[in-house]
Structure formats: C-alpha cells, structure tokens
Amino acid sequence: MSEFFAMGGYAWYVWGSYGVTFLLLFIEMILLKKRSKKA
C-alpha cells in the first residue's frame, strides 16, 4: 500500500497532478452549484 503511494519516488509529481486536477474539477462543480442556486 505505501509502495503504491510512493509511486516509485515520483509521488509529488504523480499525486500533485491528480490531486490538483480533481480538486479543480471539484471546485468548478461547487461554484456551478452555487451559481445555479442563486439564479
């Protein structure tokens, strides 16, 4: 399991990519939900 998260020493690059990507998609969805409620 910890080996999986270590990503062969590339953890920052791999999880930094996936983390930021899904965080941004998530933020977009939250902002849209707020906007839908306001309208």
Binding site: M7, G8, G9, Y10, Y13, V20, L24, L25, E28, L32
Partner: protein, 230 residues
C-alpha cells in the same frame, strides 16, 4: 427534425438538464474505470517508471483544451452567422471549462517535465502555444465580462474566438514544425499507436470521462446563463 427548435433557449432549457444528468453519470463511471486502468492495469513504464502515469490526465486534458476551443469557436461563429440566441450562451458556457483543462494540461505537463526533462518549464513551441491558448480563453471571458450588453458581448467574444482558432493547428503541429523538447504524437489517425494497449485504453477512457464531464458542466452552466438573462 427542425434543428432551430432547440436554438431557442426556452426549449433547450429542460433538454440541457437531461443531457447534464446522463453525461455526469457517464463521467463518473468512465473516470473510475480510467483511474483503475491507469493505476492497476497499465504496467510500469520501462524508461520513466511510475512518473509516466501522469499521461492519463495530461493527454486527455490537452485534447479537451483544444477540442473545447474549437467547439466554442464553432458556436460563436454560428451565433454570428444566424444570430441565434443560444449560440453565444453555449460559447460562454464552454469557455471556463476549456480554460480549466488548458491549465490542467499545463500544470500536469510541468509536473511531468521536471522528472523527465529536468525542468518545470521551457519556452518551447508546444508549451508556449498551449499557454497562449490559456490566454485566449481568459481573454474571451474577460472581454465578455467587460461588455454590459450581452448580445454585443457575444459578438465581440465571437470575433476573438474565431481569430484565435488559428492557434489550434499551431499547438497540434508545433512538435513537427519546430524543434521542441515535447515528444510527438503517440496517437494519431494515420498510424497505429506507439504505446502498450492498456496505456492507450486508460488514456482513451479518461479522455471520454473528461469529455462527458465537459458536456455536463457546460449544460449546467448554460442553464444558469439562460436563467440569468431572463
């Protein structure tokens, strides 16, 4: 079928909700499948080790960034040509998501560049033209936000979007036209892919997931725009 029927925002409004729901569900299912293939099925790369797994979001995000721009410019052009009200709204609804995928392509590319090229950023043709794409999206959004009258804003934005389309083939062919650090296309319509089957599968499934996500988000946003303009 009368296509102009759905060119009216009022008739499109309920349809957009249905499209958003189903493409949203498809996006979640495809993303889970894509992540599973990307992390558990696709083998470790012989040269790059695990770092290459960034490919499963980098390439699909880069594809979406270019594809969404073309779709956005298409709607913008349609709005200019036929003066249909929905077209400008569709272009507006696509821009933020396109900008988001452009940023994701740049961000993941940067994090991929460090372990493989030894640098987060170089001013080479592929990276620079993709950065220009981000500025085009932001310029489009900024221009529209700066003009109060929505119909005038749509026309001004449409011109910018259409002129900016020239950047799309520049991005695509940049790796052939100039000497660049960025590798050429691994997947093209003309030749068989130069990568292992599970890697290709993971990439395509993630691309479909991003595609469905973009449709869902754009549909929800166009509904907001329709309501806000009433």
């Amino acid at each position: 079928m009368n296509w102009f029927w759905y060119a009216s925002p009022q008739t499109f409004f309920p349809l957009a909700a249905t499209i958003a729901r189903w493409s949203g569900i498809a996006a979640v299912v495809l993303a889970l499948a894509g992540l599973y293939i990307g992390f558990f099925v696709a083998p470790t790369d012989a040269q790059q080790g695990e770092a290459y797994r960034i490919i499963f979001i980098h390439v699909p995000a880069a594809w979406m960034s270019m594809f969404l721009y073309v779709v956005m410019a298409f709607w913008a052009a349609l709005g200019l040509a036929f003066n249909t009200r929905l077209s400008g709204m569709m272009a507006r609804a696509l821009a933020p998501t396109g900008a988001l995928f452009t940023f994701i392509a740049l961000w993941t590319g940067s994090l991929w560049g460090k372990p493989t090229w030894g640098t987060y950023w170089v001013w080479d043709a592929r990276l620079t033209s993709e950065l220009i794409l981000l500025f085009l999206y932001l310029g489009f959004m900024g221009l529209q936000a700066a003009i109060d009258d929505p119909r005038r804003a749509d026309r001004a934005g449409a011109l910018l979007a259409i002129v900016g389309v020239i950047n799309i083939p520049i991005i695509y062919y940049s790796v052939q036209w100039w000497n660049t650090l960025h590798q050429g296309a691994s997947v093209s319509l003309k030749s068989s892919p130069t990568m292992a089957a599970p890697m290709l599968a993971g990439m395509l499934v993630m691309a479909l997931a991003f595609w469905m996500y973009s449709i869902a988000v754009a549909m929800v946003r166009v509904r907001c725009i329709i309501r806000e303009r009433q």
